[in-house]
Symmetry: C2
Subunit: 574 residues, 2 copies
C-alpha cells in the first residue's frame, strides 16, 4: 500500500501521477470502509479525494493555507496531514480543527464562511508582508449562503494572492436551487466559456476543470494559479459520492450517513420508530389538501420535508443554503395570506437572527417555523441545538412553543396555522411521546398545570417535561406530592399561574432542554426573585460541548433524575 | 404648485413630463427644507425623487408592489401616497410602514432585505394566480449584504415577473467597497454593455439607465420592463444628494443629517462635547503608532472611524455593508496575530450572530468588537440598541465588557488588545463620564465593589452605573447605606463577590441599559434564586419601542431614580 508510507504532505510530493492515482484509490477504499462503519459525511468526502491530493501535491501546507468550507470534506486532508491513524480509529473529529493539526486553521461546521476566513488570512499575510498562497475550498451548496457572496465581493477586490476553489458537484445536501447554480451549469456545459460568468463579473480570474476527479488535470490547474498575485477562481466539476455505486446515484441519501452495510446498503441500526419528521410531513401533506395557501420552505435541508416535497412539489420551496432568504420570504408570504411553514435545524436558524428580528418579528407576520434537532445531544460543537431558546425567545412578538408530545405538537401546528396574529416558532422534540390524556386547547401564553400538588412545582419545558414527570414520581417516595406544569410557551410567562403557585409551594424548579443563560428558566427566576419562593433552574451550561456523550452531558449539567431530586430536597425547608 | 394637487399616485398619472419635472423640483424643495429642519436621511432621498415619481407614473401602486430597501429612500414615496401632510408635519416615520399606508408592505430599517421580501411577494402572487408587478428597489450600498445575494440568486430563478431596480449612486453611507461595486462601475462606464455583468450571470434581463435622475428616461425604462414575465434588473445611475450643492459633493456627510441651517450649513445643535467616537479614534491612532498589527474594521459605517481612516488608511478596512464578513475576517486575522478592532452599531451586530458564534467564539480568537449606540434611546424600532447583551453574552467564550467611564473604557481597550485568550466585545457608552478615582486593573470576570455598604447592593452595568450612584445617594436620605458595584463584565458572574454580598445584604438590584429578557440581571436572579436574598432587575421591556422619547421609556421601564428607590424600599424587610 502506498498509503502506508504517506503521513504528511511531503510524503506525496515525490510520487508520480500513477502513484497518486493509486493513492486516491486506496484512500477511497479506506473512506468507504470507515465511514460505512462509523457514519459521517460520505458523498462529499468521496468526491474530493483527488482535489485534496492535488492541492497537497502542488501547494506547501501549512505555509500555504487551505480552508475547507464547512470542513465536512476534509477526511482526505486529515489522512494526509498526520491524522491517518486517528481517522482510522475514529479519534479525530468530522470537521477541521486547529487543535488537531497545524494544517487546519479554523473549527468550521456551518457553511459559506471559508471565503471570508480566507480573505482574513490574506489581509493578515499582506500586513505581515508574507507571500504564501491562501486557498479557500467551497462548494457542495455552500456558495449560495449570503456570507459567501460578501466574501467573494470583498475577496475580488484584493490586489494579492487569493485562490477560491469552487467544488461543483451539482449538489448541496440535496439539489441546488437559485440562479447562481444555473450559472455554474452554463459554465459546466460550455467548458467554462459561456458569456456570463459570475466570478469574472466579481473581478476574479477564472479557470475551469472539467475533470475534477482527475489528479493530473487538477495538478495542472493548481500549478497555473499557484503564486498568482490576484484573486482567481478554480471551478472544478466533481462527482459527489464517487467510487461507491449507490452514493454516485443517490447523492442526497449519502451526503451524511449513519453506519451501513456495504453489501446490503441497509443501515446497521435501522429504526422503524415513529419520528417527528414523518409526523410533520404527514400533517403537512394532509393539511395541504384543504389549504391551497400552505407552503413548506427549507434552506438546503430538504430531507426534513420528505415526503412532502414529492407529494406536494408545487407547495415546496427549497431556497438552497440561504437561511436569511428563507425567513424573509416566509414573512413576506405570510403578509399576503399565504401560510408558510419553514423547516430548519435548530443550529442553522441562528444564521438568520436579523431576519427573525427585523423582517419577521417587527412586521409580526404569522409565518410558522419548525426547529428540528433542538436540545442537548451528542453533537459537533458547531451543531449544538441548545442556543435557540435564548436566541428567539428574547425577540419581541415571536411566539415560541415547545410541545411535549406528538398530540400536543399537532395541536400546536393547528393553532399556529389557524391564527393570523403572530410569527410562531415550534421546537420539535427529538423522541416521540404520546399524550396520556386529551390535549387541552392552546391558549396564548397559558401554561398547563397537569398535576396539582404542593410544596414543589416542576416546570418541564418540551421534551424535559418527561424528566419532570420522572422527578415527580421519585419525589413521591419522599412523601412529596409535587405540582407538574407544562409551560407550552417559552417566550412569555403565565403570571397568573406563577402567582398562584406561591400560595402553597416553596420551591419551583425549571427543566429545559437548552442553555440556561438567557433561557426560559431565568425568566422564572427573575419573576420570583423578590418573592418568598425559591427557584432552581436546570439546563445546559454555557459551553460549546464537542461530541460529548449525552449521558456525560446530563451528568455534567445535573440533569439526572436522582440529582435533580437531591437538589430539590436540599433546598426544601427543614 | 403642482404638488398641491398631488396626494395619491393617480393624481400624477395625467401629468406630462414637463409637469413631472416641475413636481420633482417642488418635492426637492420640500425635502431640503423639511429634512434640514427635522433631520433625517437627506442624500439618499434627494437622489431618488425622479425614480419614485417615474415608478408611480408607470406602475399601479398598491396593486403593483414597491419594496424600498432599508426604506430610508421613501420620502417621495410617502409624499405621493397620501402622507404629504404627515411628512410635512413630521408625523410619519422615516421608514416605510404598512401601518401608515397600503402602499407600504413592510417595516424595514436594516439593509439588503428588499430582494428577498420581493421574492416572497412573487411567490405569494404566483400561488394566488395574480399578475401584479413586484418591484424591489435596492442600492445605496445595500447590495453588498449577503442576504441581497441570497435574494438575487433565488429571484433570478423565478419564472415570473420580478423587477429589481438597482439604485447606483456610487455610494453606501460612505464609499463602496468590494468587487461587486467594481462591476457596477464597469457597467456605468460602458453604458451597461461591458463584457461581465453580475446580473446577467444570475439570470436577469438587464437594462441600464445612465440618467437616473431624468424622469423621461426612467419612465421609458420602467415601461419596457412593466409586466415582464421574467426577472429583470434596471440599473439606474443616480446622484446622491442631488439638488443641494453641499450634499452633492459631500455625500457621506449628508447621508443622514441632524437639523442644519441651509445657508450656513452648520448643525443647529452643534455639540462640542467630548464623545466616544473621538475617544476611540484618538486611542486607535495612538496605538497604531506602536502596534504595526493593529487594524480597524467597519462594515459600511466608516464615520465611526473618523479620523482613524484618514490618518491610518493602511490600517483601515471598510468591507461595505457586510457584517458577517467583517466578523469573520476579524476572527481570521486575530488567529494570525493581527489585532483587529471591529467598530459596529449595536443594532447591526445582530446581522452576524452566526459568525460571532461559529467563526469567532468557537475558534476563540482574540478579536475586539466595539459596539456603538447601544442602550435604551429614542430610536426607530428597527434600530434599537437593547438586544446586544442577550444576543452576545449568552455565547460561550466571548468576553463582554461594559465600561462606565472614559478612563475605564480605555483600560478595557488596553486589556482587550493586550490579551490573546478570548474574543472581546466592548459596549461603548453614549455619554462621556469621567472616573472619580483611579481605574482598577481589569481582571477577567471580576466585578468591582466601588462602595461598600449593607442591606442593599446596587449592581449598575455600564452607563447605568451612574443611575446606580444616584439611587445610592437617594437611599442615604432614608438611612440606607447601600453597596455599589460596577460589574464590568456581563458575560460571566463574579461568584465570590455575589456570595460575599449575602452576608450583610437582603436585596440586590441590577440596572442594565438593555433588555431584561435574556440579559445580565437575569443571570444574577438565577444565581440567587435559591438563596436568602431578594433581587430586583431593572432594564428594558421586551418590545420594539418605535421612536419613543427617552423620558417616556425610562418612565415605562421603571428606570427613574425615585421609582427605583421606591421599589427598593417596598422590598426591604419591615
Amino acid at each position: 500500500m502506498i498509503l502506508d508510507n504517506i503521513n504528511y504532505p511531503k510524503d506525496l510530493k515525490t510520487l508520480d501521477i500513477d502513484k497518486l492515482n493509486t493513492l486516491a484509490n486506496e484512500i477511497r477504499d479506506l473512506l468507504i470502509n470507515r465511514v460505512s462503519k462509523t457514519g459521517g459525511h460520505f458523498g462529499p468526502n468521496l468526491g474530493m479525494i483527488e482535489t485534496t491530493i492535488a492541492l497537497h501535491y502542488v501547494f506547501n501546507s501549512p505555509v500555504d493555507k487551505f480552508i475547507f468550507d464547512t470542513s465536512h470534506q476534509t477526511y482526505t486532508h486529515k489522512i494526509l496531514t498526520g491524522r491517518k491513524e486517528g481517522f482510522i480509529n475514529n479519534k479525530v473529529t468530522g470537521f477541521s480543527s486547529q487543535k488537531e493539526s497545524e494544517h487546519d486553521f479554523f473549527i468550521m461546521g456551518h457553511t459559506s464562511t471559508s471565503i471570508s476566513l480566507g480573505v482574513g488570512l490574506c489581509h493578515a499575510r499582506d500586513i505581515k508582508n508574507q507571500n504564501e498562497n491562501i486557498v479557500a475550498i467551497i462548494g457542495d451548496g455552500s456558495l449560495s449562503g449570503g456570507q459567501a457572496f460578501e466574501g467573494l465581493s470583498n475577496g475580488g477586490a484584493l490586489n494579492s494572492n487569493f485562490i477560491v476553489v469552487v467544488n461543483d458537484n451539482e449538489m448541496s445536501i440535496g439539489e441546488n436551487y437559485g440562479s447562481l447554480y444555473n450559472n455554474l451549469k452554463d459554465l459546466r456545459e460550455s467548458n467554462g466559456e459561456c458569456e456570463h460568468n459570475l466570478f469574472k463579473s466579481l473581478g476574479y480570474d477564472y479557470l475551469y476543470v472539467e475533470e475534477g476527479n482527475n489528479i493530473s488535470d487538477l495538478v495542472e490547474a493548481f500549478k497555473k494559479v499557484k503564486d498568482t498575485n490576484k484573486p482567481v477562481v478554480v471551478h472544478i466539476r466533481t462527482l459527489k459520492g464517487k467510487g461507491y455505486e449507490d452514493s454516485e446515484t443517490r447523492k442526497e441519501k449519502y451526503h451524511y450517513t449513519m453506519p451501513f452495510d456495504l453489501e446490503t446498503k441497509e443501515l446497521i441500526n435501522k429504526s422503524n420508530d415513529e419520528n417527528y419528521i414523518k409526523i410533520t410531513n404527514d400533517y403537512l401533506i394532509n393539511r395541504a389538501k384543504e389549504d391551497k395557501n400552505l407552503v413548506a420552505i427549507t434552506a438546503g435541508t430538504p430531507a426534513l420535508l420528505n415526503p412532502f416535497r414529492y407529494e406536494c412539489s408545487d407547495k415546496f420551496i427549497d431556497v438552497g443554503i440561504a437561511e436569511q432568504h428563507a425567513i424573509s420570504i416566509a414573512s413576506s408570504m405570510a403578509s399576503q395570506d399565504i401560510n408558510p411553514v419553514v423547516c430548519l435545524f435548530s443550529s442553522f436558524v441562528q444564521r438568520a437572527y436579523d431576519q427573525l428580528s427585523q423582517d419577521l418579528a417587527i412586521n409580526n407576520n404569522p409565518a410558522v417555523i419548525l426547529l428540528f434537532n433542538a436540545g442537548i445531544a451528542k453533537n459537533a460543537e458547531t451543531h449544538i441545538g441548545v442556543f435557540d431558546i435564548p436566541l428567539i425567545s428574547n425577540i419581541p412578538n415571536i411566539v415560541f412553543m415547545c410541545p411535549t408530545t406528538k398530540e400536543e405538537y399537532i395541536k400546536m401546528l393547528d393553532y399556529s396555522l389557524n391564527q393570523n396574529e403572530h410569527p410562531v416558532v415550534i421546537r420539535v422534540p427529538s423522541n416521540v411521546k404520546n399524550n396520556e390524556g386529551e390535549v387541552l386547547d392552546i391558549k396564548l401564553n397559558k401554561f398547563e398545570k397537569v398535576i396539582s400538588g404542593e410544596k414543589v412545582s416542576i416546570i418541564g419545558v418540551g421534551s424535559f417535561y418527561h424528566i419532570g414527570k420522572e422527578v415527580l414520581e421519585k419525589l413521591k417516595t419522599y412523601d412529596i406530592n409535587a405540582t407538574l406544569i407544562n409551560p407550552r410557551f417559552v417566550s412569555e410567562l403565565d403570571y397568573n399561574m406563577l402567582d398562584d403557585l406561591t400560595k402553597n409551594h416553596e420551591l419551583v424548579i425549571t427543566l429545559e432542554d437548552g442553555l440556561l443563560d438567557g433561557g426560559f428558566g431565568e425568566k422564572i427566576s427573575r419573576y420570583y426573585s423578590n418573592k418568598d419562593i425559591k427557584v432552581l433552574n436546570f439546563g445546559a451550561k454555557k459551553e460549546f460541548a464537542d461530541n460529548i456523550e449525552l449521558d456525560v452531558l446530563y451528568e455534567n449539567y445535573n440533569l439526572k433524575v436522582d440529582n435533580i431530586v437531591n437538589k430539590i430536597r436540599e433546598n426544601l425547608k427543614k
